[in-house]
Symmetry: C2
Subunit: 319 residues, 2 copies
């Protein structure tokens, strides 16, 4: 049993790229070469908190992975980060535990950032200005992971708390971006042709009137039934709706709301892994509006955790 | 983060009793003072294997618990035990991981044995002869845990594999029992007024004609949709049907089959924790036939894991 600490994980993350592995994971998933049961969920009232258990495996790989990731929004009051969590790797052939990754939820942040980057690469036109809605960890990581893909350094940012927004502005300026605070989402959507929504909002923030031809939107904040960032009519106005997992998006995230409201049907949705496997299914015309709904699929956790552990084993064998 | 190994867990188990805590857990569960989501399940084909994720918490206690327990029936071929698993304790108020119990599935065995003992204490008449069907770990542990409850040492045993059965006979004779091999379940049910079924059978073993007035049966082998130890008409012939969890027994174990077949209805079932809380709901007459269906509820895992960890913390603070 190998217990891998967060500093060791970060060291491995800094030395290697995980994009191809996560991409391969999405493709396996969409080709039904992965077994990913529905997300387990545990809720707490006082203080409020939610725990997600995401788990599964890619057929014929070595490990099955169980991830426990939690968000306790009042953790700041006791000097802790909101997200906590670990990933567990077990042998697919015997059930033996092989490794515990004490990542405190960090690998979830990374694999989400990677999924955002994969969408940006796959669906955007030439990026003019990047729009970021929200100012948490993903707001920063999405930009960090775009650095080596696009030369664009112009960013418009929007958030509800001006203090947080100013802090966030500084942190992304350090990454090398020119950031402007938008006074409204309208102002941001007038300029940006890639918009990434990263909030935990339960009320829509971006509406139909904000859409412009050629835009790509990635909405990654909503991962439960209650959260929602896109208003009614947004998804049905898109030329391409992408789900990281159609099964999961039926009950979680943006797509679930639009399905429930009868605005779109299952047949209007294409799964990310299918497009990555056959890119002709992606953006067709420069003027198309494309929207990706990322709810976070266990296959991303399986992919990143397996690669971290493989690299860890390699590194200790080299010593 | 405290990582507690199996030898350390066994040391704690040997020094303390956990029956009252598990009993309290069942009562909390039936009083809706526990949050226990449906069991997560992951299946493997080659080699065959199944993983169960059982998790939840008792409101106002300190920890939430996630248990991962697997059965890979061909593990013997590679020199491993079939069951593998760990339990994880997290802080209910922050989501922080507090402890990892590397019990290899052993605590699941123990809490199941304890549940069996609780049922024996609650539902049997004076025990004349104990009947055990199956000869695996539970077949042995159920008897071990009955030692300090009943003076009865007469056991009839039945199993499909005579070699295994003879080995099992020796192991329980070491515990102090007088064991006789029954040539059929009929022979066993003629004599025994407590019968415990402990197999992973997918076809019924005990039928309506085996029932005798005053009998108590505990069926604990079937914990999935497919497994089944009791034949049609057995549950509907009972005067009292006990479920460890009504919610869970709707979809798993003996009760689920009889519900599906319309033989019994939900209103015919009483939950164990409710009886433990109000014993007048238990056996009413000496001649009643009572049957308990144990599918294994996460609240048992929550209870035993929390107490193990509390005692561990106490022990290291005493050093």
């Amino acid at each position: 049993l190998y217990i891998i600490t967060k500093p060791e994980i970060i060291k491995i993350l800094n030395k290697h790229q995980f994009e191809n592995r996560v991409k391969k994971g999405f493709i396996s998933y969409s080709k039904k070469q992965a077994v990913i049961p529905p997300v387990g969920e545990l809720l707490f009232k006082e203080p409020p908190g939610e725990v997600h258990i995401k788990y599964g495996y890619i057929i014929n790989e070595k490990y099955y992975v169980i991830k426990i990731a939690s968000g306790f929004p009042r953790n700041g009051e006791i000097g802790l980060t909101n997200s906590q969590g670990i990933m567990l790797l077990f042998n697919q052939k015997s059930g033996e535990i092989e490794s515990i990754l004490l990542d405190d939820g960090y690998l979830t942040d990374i694999r989400t950032a990677i999924a955002g980057k994969i969408c940006a690469k796959q669906f955007t036109n030439d990026i003019k200005t990047i729009g970021i809605i929200g100012n948490g960890i993903q707001a920063r990581l999405q930009l960090k992971y775009l650095l080596d893909y696009t030369p664009c350094r112009d960013v418009m940012i929007w958030g509800r708390n001006l203090g947080h927004l100013k802090q966030y502005k500084k942190s992304i300026e350090k990454l090398g971006f020119n950031a402007k605070i938008a006074s409204s989402i309208s102002k941001l959507s007038d300029i940006c042709n890639l918009i990434i929504l990263t909030t935990s909002s339960k009320k829509p923030l971006l509406f139909k009137e904000h859409l412009k031809p050629g835009m790509h939107i990635t909405a990654l904040g909503a991962d439960t039934k209650l959260k929602r960032e896109l208003g009614p009519g947004v998804l049905s106005s898109a030329d391409l709706i992408i789900a990281d997992s159609i099964e999961q998006c039926k009950i979680r995230g943006e797509i679930s709301h639009s399905l429930n409201e009868g605005e779109i049907s299952i047949n209007d949705i294409v799964e990310l892994g299918n497009i990555l496997d056959n890119t002709s299914m992606g953006r067709k015309h420069e003027n198309d509006i494309t929207i990706a709904d990322l709810t976070g699929v266990a296959v991303q956790d399986v992919s990143i955790a397996s690669k971290i552990f493989e690299l860890y084993l390699k590194s200790i064998n080299e010593i």
